[in-house]
Symmetry: C2
């Protein structure tokens, strides 16, 4: 990390990337090649409302800009972002009013070009410009956390959908009449493939097999995907079977996705993707078995994120400042 | 239809559209607004090889151009088209050698700009420029014939996939471990939703229910989707149930598709789509039940093709001449 003096000395120009999450908000000065010169963060969860949030955010931005740092623009990734309006709307995990004018508020305060992008799109831009999908024209990012997030680049463009809700890969029906999903439907991808899905599979296996496991002594509330990962690493059969079943569903979902989009690669990120071979091997095996004839022979690559789990969205937001993107907007194409 | 004199008199400029199918090859002089001035066709099936095919094709083109008709370019839609190479490769239903140089051969003979596009993309271009999806930026065409064909426009571009095999909606797994598919996998969309899928559902219902039906007197070989359609129209319970089950699967597939792409509309074409309400009503009902929250309220339109069943590909090929399209090509974007 460069210190303030160094930043001043080099007179490098930066983009200010912001990653707004339910737990914390992170900021970074990002160079054109994705190098991070300075970081800051504060707790979003501790903010009472958007006013307190903006107070903290402005403080941190002022800190970032101290010493005459040259900044080309500010861009933020956030959940429930309305990219067209520059607002955050009905964000379930942020302590905000139903509609928060993020772009307008930041722009008025600092007089810098300001942009807002959905968090999943921010991570996708990060992988695209600085990570595992660098230079690709067709790829998909799947983020495996509590749920399953997704961003799609097709024909060299972020795919937004007609009303901005495209890329909901977590809510494809992979098992008709399967597990109940938070979205009100059944059998959605994320009920099987996510940290929560992993736990549900453990409980399914405990119910339906006789396999012994130390996981049987944990309650549903107490069990985390980390427990399952650690059990699998120490050779526990039930935990290993859980990862195999998760990879089986994920590989099949990717095979179907490839039938639609035919990406060059699928990048897996998020906590669950850190399980490495435990998840990747059964996923790649299942994809190969379920793939269409012209996708067999490992034509669709499955890659781990090349960015730190915490940096993809931050870097992706900054990439918005460094690169021109055509973002589809109802009624025309907006250059951003 | 205009006659030769009229064509000559008006000195209108045309695009020459060609639709190469396994049974017949159709040609038309198409004006900029999709008006067809002159038609011709010949039997593809009767051609012994590509040499005979080209002989017939050239004859018809010469006929079309007679009297000094001004033609801006020639474009053909064909199965197994390699759009990048301008070749038709390993076409199962054409009497061709493994690789036929269509663009080169036609271009050398007539000295006119010549293009080749996959048949499914040709129909998609037809609906986009002259049909039900006119002016849309995000839509999908589903063609229900013997199989299920598909073309996707996202962000205002034809979606081709990294290697030109995108949009294989017929081979999404809608029922894990379901019906065996010609592609070697199981539970693919087209094993349920197509003329063949409809027949398979009738046979499933005859096996698993006691419902009486005149369809029980037909063999698998003798039964066509038209028999099922006619039985349903005259009130046969088994045939009606068959359409309901087909719409149920199609609606669920569209709901999933909308989670990926969020199109403004899905256009249904092909023989099975001619069944009208029998297919559309259960499809729309199923889509509404399976749709994500933000797609409920009939946000994703399901529309019948606005072009004659036989004209979509013909008009779409011509649209290639009338309009600039960015077609994704590995290594760059080609203006065509």
């Amino acid at each position: 990390m460069m210190n303030d003096n160094l930043v001043r000395m080099t007179k490098q120009t930066f983009a200010l990337g912001i990653d707004i999450g339910g737990t914390s908000t992170k900021l970074a000065l990002v160079g054109a090649s994705g190098d991070i010169a300075k970081r800051a963060s504060f707790s979003t969860a501790d903010c009472a409302d958007e006013h307190e949030f903006f107070r903290h955010l402005f403080e941190k931005i002022v800190e970032m800009l101290r010493g005459g740092v040259e900044v080309k623009g500010i861009a933020a990734g956030a959940p429930s972002a309305n990219e067209q309006q520059g607002t955050i709307e009905n964000a379930a995990n942020l302590p905000f009013s139903p509609k928060v004018e993020l772009v307008k508020t930041v722009q008025e305060r600092f007089g810098l070009p300001t942009q807002l992008v959905k968090d999943s799109n921010a991570s996708t831009l990060g992988e695209w410009h600085f990570g595992a999908a660098k230079g690709m024209k067709n790829f998909m990012l799947i983020t495996l956390g509590t749920g399953l997030g997704c961003g799609i680049v097709a024909n060299g463009q972020l795919l937004g959908g007609e009303y901005g809700h495209g890329g909901e890969a977590g809510h494809i029906c992979v098992v008709p009449n399967g597990r109940a999903c938070g979205c009100g439907r059944f059998g959605c991808t994320e009920t099987y493939v996510s940290a929560t899905g992993l736990k549900r599979t453990v409980f399914d296996l405990m119910a339906n097999t006789m396999t012994d496991s130390p996981l049987r002594s944990k309650s549903y509330m107490d069990m985390s995907s980390r427990h399952i990962f650690e059990a699998a690493q120490s050779g526990d059969a039930l935990a290993k079977k859980t990862f195999e079943m998760t990879g089986e569903v994920l590989g099949r979902a990717i095979a179907d996705m490839a039938a639609w989009f035919e990406p060059e690669a699928v990048v897996l990120s998020g906590g669950l993707a850190m399980a490495g071979d435990l998840l990747f091997l059964p996923t790649i095996d299942s994809l190969e078995r379920h793939a269409l004839a012209f996708h067999k022979g490992h034509k669709i690559k499955v890659l781990p994120s090349a960015l730190g789990e915490n940096d993809a969205a931050l870097l992706g937001a900054a990439a918005l400042i460094w690169n021109e993107h055509q973002v589809w907007v109802k009624g025309g194409v907006n250059k951003t």
